[in-house]
């Protein structure tokens, strides 16, 4: 009976999350790594009376200071006192997978290797001698099938044994003599500072030879830094002299040489690999001519399913809350309690749940596309366009496309992007895509002022959104996110038939996460807006006398330079934070007219000219996305930093762009 802690580590797409789900079932919790925007899944299971905590580590190819994901995994191995690291290996790609294994051995991690995807390896003609491999690596090797119970019992037992008898895996690594000698020299100097020895000195030596920024920084704080730095330089120069290449390459070569040695004895593979099923599928799917049409059809289908199939369910939810509201007002009368329940609580809860159908559908599809391997192909096909125009990874396309439907699923879809920088930039520009909630605002104002050119004017707004997104992405890449340059280099994993269980788990986890986290924000914000509209007691809900009306009146002059300095647009914009379509409802209640028809059109003509109406639409398009989008950003990034940055960026952008549009309009004599 003991409490154990294990981490699941491995390359991307090897089945870590699948194994995690198999082990923990529903006993899991998805959050963020403390202070990081990288997702962290934690869970637990009981076995043989042991209570085992499991952490699903990010997928990595290496453990350099290369990306936030790699740093997270590395810190986990170094700092967290995990009893065992289970290294999941895709048997069909064993050679490359072992590169990470070797790096974890350099760190002295107490490893258990779990060989997964054994069927795919057999299809490829690979035969792996697990016993031999285990003997050579000096760590247990267990064959498993992550999506079933095959090998699970043995894995769990092996993990428990390994926890009892930890091995120092560093000792099992053998690099060529030349390198070994010089690492030993460097080690000796490092070991003079005992404060550095919370990690193996050989690891520090290797990392110094790899020019690892984080370890270099750590050395800066050492009392022996001069000696260490001088010795490092000496060894680097020496290795470069002998091998004729940089010390990093020398080390990478040594690692692969070690792996070659292992595999010579434990892997037999055919001389000629036959053409795999994946290669056959790719002949069509990423074909020069067919690649694009196929991509467009799949995207179109996704868009249709998410937004068209989702709509009736959304209407149903809307209707349900409408009826519930009527029922409450009917039975309680127009009291403060009923106003709170209907306008505050139901408004908030409804505002959360209304997204649920879309989110569920979206994640069913995205999980399928991702798990089967198509998403990587989509990025391959789209990368040139995305890279050229937005400076982003090909994978940024899908979130941006979804953003035209709704920013919330768009933001959540950035999960598929491994690189933190690309993910953040994409998340921050998705809300500039004109979502469907802006449409009612356009329809109202375009109907009132641009009846002759409706589509053209609306199209121009979509274009404004896209152009602004491109510019903002450009600026973000040149400023805030400059430091984190990200290579595109991406694995195209073999196609696989995804498991229903995996897709459902993923969908469930995302949807529930959204309700819990984004929901709290939306609910709180809705209640605050309700209070501002209801108080001081006795005033009409949301009128100029209410708190929000007062606020609107006070901030209205801020919008005067944009051409709409009345208090009503200011109040409407404040309400629009809940959801942008609420802008329309606010106008109608402020003017006491129906949401459609001549009444509201007359009212609009009272406060806007065609030019200021257009400027107002531009502002609605670009200013702070709704609370739901901010909530989604908070959930995805695990903190308030990015929702706040987002709010600031969008407010400034909206103001500046609207002002420019207004000035240009005035200049052209459109006032």
């Amino acid at each position: 009976m003991a409490n154990l802690k294990i981490g699941l580590a491995g390359n991307p797409n090897v089945g870590k999350t699948t194994l995690f789900n198999t082990l923990t079932g529903l006993n899991q919790h998805v959050g963020n790594w403390p202070g990081k925007t990288v997702a962290q899944a934690k869970g637990h299971y009981k076995h043989n009376g042991n209570e085992v905590e499991v952490i699903d580590l990010p997928g990595n190819y290496a453990l350099s200071a290369h990306s936030m994901e790699e740093i997270v995994s590395r810190d986990f191995i170094v700092d967290e006192d995990a009893d065992v690291i289970v290294n999941i290996i895709d048997a069909a790609n064993i050679e490359r997978n072992l590169y990470l294994t070797v790096q974890m051995m350099e760190l002295g991690a107490n490893l258990v290797v779990a060989l997964n995807m054994n069927k795919y390896a057999q299809d490829k003609g690979y035969t792996i001698d697990a016993n031999k491999l285990s003997e050579l690596l000096g760590v247990p090797v267990v064959e498993i099938e992550a999506n079933s119970d095959t090998g699970k019992e043995e894995l769990l037992k092996t993990v428990e044994q390994a926890a009892q008898n930890p091995v120092n895996t560093t000792e099992r690594l053998v690099y060529n003599n030349e390198l070994k000698e010089h690492i030993a020299e460097l080690q000796a100097v490092i070991e003079e500072d005992k404060n550095l020895l919370d990690v193996p000195s050989s690891w520090i030596a290797i990392k110094l030879l790899e020019n690892d920024e984080i370890v270099e920084e750590k050395i800066e704080g050492s009392s022996k830094r001069n000696n260490i730095q001088a010795e490092t330089k000496k060894v680097k120069d020496h290795l470069e002299g002998i091998f004729g290449e940089g010390s990093e390459e020398v080390i990478a070569n040594a690692r692969y040489a070690f792996i070659d040695g292992l595999l010579k004895e434990s892997l037999t593979k055919p001389n000629h690999l036959k053409v795999s099923i994946s290669e056959k599928i790719d002949k069509i799917v990423t074909n020069r001519i067919l690649g694009f049409p196929i991509f467009i059809v799949i995207m179109y289908a996704m868009f249709e399913i998410v937004f068209t199939f989702g709509a009736p369910f959304q209407d149903l939810i809307d209707e349900f809350f409408g009826i519930l509201g009527d029922f409450i007002v009917g039975s309680l009368g127009e009291t403060m309690l009923s106003s709170f329940l209907v306008n505050g609580l139901i408004g908030g809860v409804g505002g959360v749940l209304v997204f649920l159908p879309q989110i569920i559908l979206l994640f069913l599809i995205i999980s399928f596309l991702e798990d089967c391997g198509y998403l990587a192909r989509a990025a391959f096909v789209m990368d040139k366009l995305m890279h050229k125009f937005v400076g982003l990874h090909g994978k940024a396309f899908i979130p941006m496309l979804l953003g035209f439907g709704c920013g919330v699923p768009g933001i959540m879809a950035t999960r598929t992007m491994e690189n933190e920088k690309d993910r953040l930039i994409t998340m921050l520009i998705v809300p500039f895509m004109s979502c469907s909630a802006r449409m009612p605002v356009y329809l109202l104002l375009v109907g009132a002022f641009f009846a002759a050119n409706q589509s053209l004017v609306i199209l121009s707004l979509y274009l404004v959104g896209i152009i602004v997104a491109v510019i903002v992405a450009f600026i973000l890449r040149k400023t805030t996110f400059k430091e984190m340059s990200a290579p595109f280099v991406m694995e195209l994993p073999d196609y696989k038939l995804p498991t229903i269980r995996g897709i459902l788990m993923h969908t469930l986890e995302k949807s529930w996460g959204f309700i819990k986290k984004a929901g709290t924000i939306i609910l709180v914000a809705s209640i605050v807006i309700w209070m501002l509209s209801y108080f001081p007691a006795g005033v009409e809900y949301g009128s100029q006398e209410s708190a929000i009306g007062t606020i609107g009146t006070v901030i209205a002059p801020v919008f005067a330079p944009l051409g709409f300095g009345e208090w009503q647009p200011a109040v409407a914009l404040a309400f629009g934070l809940v959801a942008k379509e609420v802008v329309v409802g606010t106008f109608s209640s402020l003017f006491g007219v129906a949401e459609e028809g001549a009444g509201i059109i007359t009212a609009m003509h009272g406060i806007f000219t065609p030019l200021t109406a257009y400027v107002f639409m531009v502002f609605v398009l670009l200013y702070i996305p709704c609370f739901a989008a901010l909530g989604a950003i908070k959930q995805e990034t695990g903190g308030w930093k990015y929702p706040l940055i987002m709010s600031a960026v969008t407010l400034v952008t909206a103001y500046v762009v609207s002002f420019i549009v207004y000035m240009v309009g005035l200049g052209l004599g459109l006032g």
Partner: protein, 77 residues
């Protein structure tokens, strides 16, 4: 003959000879981790519909990278 990886046509194969000097250190580290080491067999499998990126087979699996990222890798064909 030595060629740059980005100059290889689809279907062409070779052996990784070296990384040219210069080039992004971060990128090189990433490529090393993905199996682009000296002596590795590489094959350009295809070029994306818009002409970039390219898909390369190395260490028995497929990886795609932009031509810009491939131009520092020298291949003995």
């Amino acid at each position: 003959m030595i060629k740059k990886l980005n100059e290889l046509k689809s279907g062409e194969t070779g052996v990784l000879a070296s990384y040219g000097s210069g080039g992004d250190l971060e990128l090189k580290r990433h490529l090393l981790g993905m199996g682009f080491v000296k002596g590795a067999d590489v094959e350009v499998e295809k070029v994306a519909p818009l002409g970039d990126p390219i898909q390369v087979k190395v260490k028995g699996y497929s990886v795609c990278l932009r031509k810009e990222e491939a131009k520092n890798i020298e291949i003995e064909v």
